[in-house]
Symmetry: C2
Subunit: 230 residues, 2 copies
């Protein structure tokens, strides 16, 4: 098992609707030495959403949150835990005011974050000759634990789950129901070099053992029949 | 913002009750080039628990789980979501059968994972002359999302949360309630090189911007009054 490196994609300029994000990220990747086979590129959804124009001007954040939500799971004061159209359960249905371009401006989640990841993967493949796995990430809170961790809300070119069911442990005993959310751990690792305030909207991760195959970030959504905390 | 590297701590022999885990991890660290200031050492709780003798022989896992649990939050079939004595909410109250030393053998969580982390930190500091931050990790499932991610259940020499409240975003607007669970993201990053089946019970992480100060993994536990999913 070899070393894993997480390299910040720095120097990306402010992104506005219609900007060529793949080009800006590609420039940052080039400064970081480019891509090799097996690399993963993690991009904060905020810049993806901005490039895709998923921004609304509104003084009424709650109205926007309720419009973005497929269902509200809990509500206490300003805090709304909601299910998005994609099936993700998170605060404010993913609507975010921090790092938004102006007062009263809200950034929404991309409409189809897997498609956003696929488009970036294709553009970066064209430029570097090697298609990276791409993860679009967001910072989600968790029940029972303080603080957010970054998780995958869109993926391309990788299976987000590593399924070890059927494998054996060191002593040859079968592992019990061990499925690892590798894409979420990769998103969290990328957050460690991205920060929130310093204009580093992505990271390249090299040296990771990726699960075989391809998939969708929706693979990470627990089916309703297994949800014990509706 | 610089690169982060995650290096597996490989070649650690099977750990049994009473074994000197700090020495075994220190040997693996030495093979990986030792420690420098600011390094983080992540150790899977399983080897910590084994070294501390937190193993029980029982054919009745459920009885052991209920004994380890302070409260049961949900139960469906074999799945028990329980609150541990430490305040963590997780499957089976942290009781685990995979990688246990024999049939009918269960591995419990360490009694005081922060203390376990502190002891490792002190022993590694004595050996290498530089005290690493230490995280004891476990694989937790999450509501609403498939798969487990590794999280911190014990820490020493680091504050597990990076609190950016009061900071400003790129445009000088204050960030809203942004607290990042850095210790959980570090635990997840370490998992990516540890695997479950190949005898790599830890990792060294270098190049991370650690939150200032010290803390406890209990800082990661959401206080009951903020818990919307009791």
């Amino acid at each position: 098992m070899s070393e894993l490196t997480v390299t910040p994609l720095a120097g990306v300029p402010e992104i506005a609707p219609g900007d060529d994000l793949a080009r800006a990220l590609g420039d940052a990747l080039e400064r970081a030495g480019g891509l090799v086979e097996g690399d993963v590129v993690v991009v904060a959804h905020k810049v993806v959403s901005k490039a895709e124009g998923r921004i609304v001007e509104s003084g009424d954040a709650l109205e926007v949150i309720l419009r973005e939500a497929r269902a509200v799971r809990r509500r206490r004061g300003d805090l709304v835990i909601a299910e998005t159209e994609h099936g993700f359960v998170c605060a404010s249905a993913g609507v975010d005011r921090s790092n938004a371009p102006g007062e009263g401006t809200l950034v929404l989640l991309p409409r189809d974050p897997d498609a956003s990841a696929r488009a970036l993967r294709e553009a970066l493949s064209d430029r570097f000759g090697s298609p990276p796995a791409v993860i679009v990430s967001d910072s989600f809170g968790r029940p029972w634990r303080q603080g957010t961790t970054d998780v995958a809300i869109g993926v391309a070119g990788l299976a987000p789950l590593l399924d070890l069911r059927g494998s054996a442990d060191e002593r040859g005993r079968p592992l019990e129901s061990t499925v690892i959310a590798v894409a979420d751990e990769l998103a969290g690792a990328a957050e460690l070099v991205m920060g929130k305030t310093d204009g580093v909207p992505g990271a390249r991760i090299r040296g990771v053992r990726l699960p075989p195959g391809d998939g969708s970030a929706r693979d990470l959504v627990l089916p309703p029949e297994r949800d014990l905390f509706p």
